[in-house]
Symmetry: C2
Subunit: 409 residues, 2 copies
């Protein structure tokens, strides 16, 4: 077993990375940061995973193009406006790219951009162009600078989301850091609204892309807050290579270790998004086992955590397990309905509520006690197949409705 240790900090923890967050004026509230930058001293191997929504933001289109060569050095991210469904969206995204390249003296091909916020409102470009020199003056390798970037990309998030880890390889320490934002419009492919991972590992662009895709599939793509898939979803990883280790350019032990650490970062960030779902009071984890394949297990687990009736049931701490079976039943994959079992688990204990597809006479008070905690696991066995998967979501509360009934004002 490889030893992954969480360390303090975030995206500035790996060697070579600086970050900043400033208020450039996209938001009216002057105390709210709205422009972030992630910058590497050296050109990085870089890879991205993006929304599959057919309506996608201009910056998503720009980043896909920019990442075709597998390299990047800086990312400029604004909150407050999604730069989606605007006639001048690409023009403004490229103006941001040009400005950053000029201010930092790097190649235009190495600048990425992201936007998050309201759709269909033209992006005010002046605050961003004026903000880029401000970002340069604020860039730092310290933890606070990384945290400022994490805060500047938030929209309806109630908490900043960041993490850093380290592990050893061939006598060298390799670090990875990550930040993300997202709480509404969260749905598999991609679950994140915006997520960024930095690392000082040395890895080829091809393998970084492969590792990122693999990790996204079992983490960000297994999270759903409300079933809506954003037009802006973006996950980008940058590897500076400054840890001093040899470049990972083929699969093997070094690659596997890196994937394990990258998975750790992605899982933490994905769960943070689910736990901070708009209006969420509880994190819901659904583990499915015994499905015919891993793919089936994924579909089943997601169906449970996406069911509004299951989400309301967890909000109300009501052990109405029939809703879990119902969500498994309409998901699509074949299941052995006469042998489904279902267990609810939390820090207060665990209780089997259903066995062989039927009520197993559990104690309602005990179930209630378990469901009142804020991290609930629903474990379902749906047959004797080898397929297993886990998905994460959150409960559905009054607050979700309040936030989304009046988002723009």
């Amino acid at each position: 077993m490889m030893n992954i240790t969480e360390i303090s900090g975030g995206i500035t923890s790996p060697l070579g990375f600086k970050a900043a967050g400033v208020h450039c004026g996209l938001r009216k509230n002057r105390s709210r940061l709205d422009l972030a930058m992630i910058y590497s001293d050296v050109r990085c191997s870089a890879a991205g995973v993006f929304t599959t929504n057919k309506v996608f933001a201009a910056p998503v289109g720009v980043d896909k193009k920019q990442l075709e060569d597998g390299y990047a050095q800086a990312i400029v991210i604004n909150s407050g406006n999604a730069n989606t469904c605007n006639s001048d969206g690409y023009e403004k995204a490229y103006m941001t790219v040009s400005k950053a390249a000029e201010v930092f003296g790097i190649s235009e091909g190495d600048v990425l951009v992201s936007s998050t916020g309201v759709i269909g409102v033209p992006l005010p470009i002046k605050p961003i162009l004026d903000g880029i020199p401000m970002l340069k003056s604020k860039l730092g390798t310290d933890e606070q600078s990384g945290e400022n970037a994490a805060v500047a990309i938030m929209t309806t998030d109630t908490k900043k989301k960041e993490i850093a880890v380290k592990y050893e390889h061939a006598g060298h320490e390799i670090k990875l850091g990550g930040i993300c934002k997202g709480s509404g419009m969260i749905q598999p492919h991609m679950a994140t609204m915006l997520a960024y991972v930095t690392t000082d590992a040395a890895i080829s662009p091809e393998l970084l892309k492969k590792a990122l895709k693999k990790c996204a599939d079992s983490t960000f793509n297994m999270v759903s807050v409300d079933g809506d898939m954003s037009t802006n979803d973006t996950l980008i990883a940058m590897a500076s290579g400054l840890s001093g280790t040899a470049e990972i350019d083929e699969e093997g032990e070094a690659y596997d270790e890196f994937v394990e650490a990258l998975h750790y970062i992605c899982l933490y960030l994905a769960k943070s998004i689910a736990a901070d779902g708009e209006g969420a009071t509880k994190l819901i984890e659904c583990k499915v086992k015994g499905a015919k394949s891993e793919e089936d297990a994924k579909i089943l687990a997601k169906s449970v955590i996406k069911s509004p009736l299951v989400k309301c049931m967890i909000f109300g701490s009501d052990a109405n397990w029939g809703r879990v079976l119902c969500a498994l039943g309409y998901a699509g994959p074949d299941i052995d309905t006469e042998h489904i079992s279902c267990v609810f688990r939390s820090s207060a204990g665990e209780i089997e509520v259903c066995r062989n597809g039927m009520d197993c006479g559990f104690n309602e008070d005990e179930a209630k006690k378990i469901l009142t905690r804020n991290y609930i696991t629903i474990e379902c066995s749906v047959g004797d197949g080898i397929g297993e998967a886990t998905a994460w979501g959150c409960d559905l509360s009054y607050e979700y409705v309040r936030i989304n009934g009046d988002y723009r004002s």
Copy 2:
């Protein structure tokens, strides 16, 4: 154009049908009806469309079997318990069938049963068996008797749902009546929790089944309240043939007219379900045109009315049209994103909010005024294809969360 006229009444309006609703004791509240019956003086052509959920209720399994021969004469329906996920579910459903056959002196093969309510709790059978003679004593052809049945099948519904229509064919009057219940766990395939249509048209079982399936596809299956598909969804039609017209045993004018009237009934009932969605304050209708096929248009329209963000936006009367485009974009079918247009319409007027995939500078106050009404149409043009479809849903309110956070208590 054929002339379909709405008339007063419901399932007892067509010739030959009687109905009743009684309190048998499944519900604690003695003033609440919980057992209903629909009875025909003669054996009827009968057809059903049922949930496709792999976890389905015992009565659904029984009815599928009973309808294999295409005939039925009576339906017994209870609310308060779904008779799903119980080890003795089939046994109790067949006990109900036997008792009704005995009490009414009809064939066991002609009795159907339905249940709605909580899943996984054994069905108390004594109240039902005792209730069947009570139903017999209450059966009537009057409107009140039909209404009692409509009320007895309600769960979280706030309104009873019934309708009757007539049309003329070859000098004879043909009548159709319908009742349904459903407000939570409503989702295409099947949208209804429970719906029943009676008619005195004479039609062969094969064509009745074909007509029912066709109508369900463009009505009940285009309604979604919360994306959850029930384990009990049932739509049954019974045709007594007592109108005096010749039996419809092949496609042609008489069949087409019947389908048109049946569609009218189904559409009314399906829209009633959407409008009475749990906690709903508004009915949302989404019309999609210009899709590559009707199938694509259906998927796109459903994606819009199912989006929690669109539902919250309508609840809040906020013209955040980017959410509509977002839901079209992740639905799956190919759309011409650069030529999408979107119009909001209600009894207060109509307003174009998006043209060519972009904001068209609409007046926000005017849009707000339109969206504050309780029947909102969202019309989207997604290209120049021939595919058109309409779907119905409802907004997402605080009340939905309250109802479903604490359903069982």
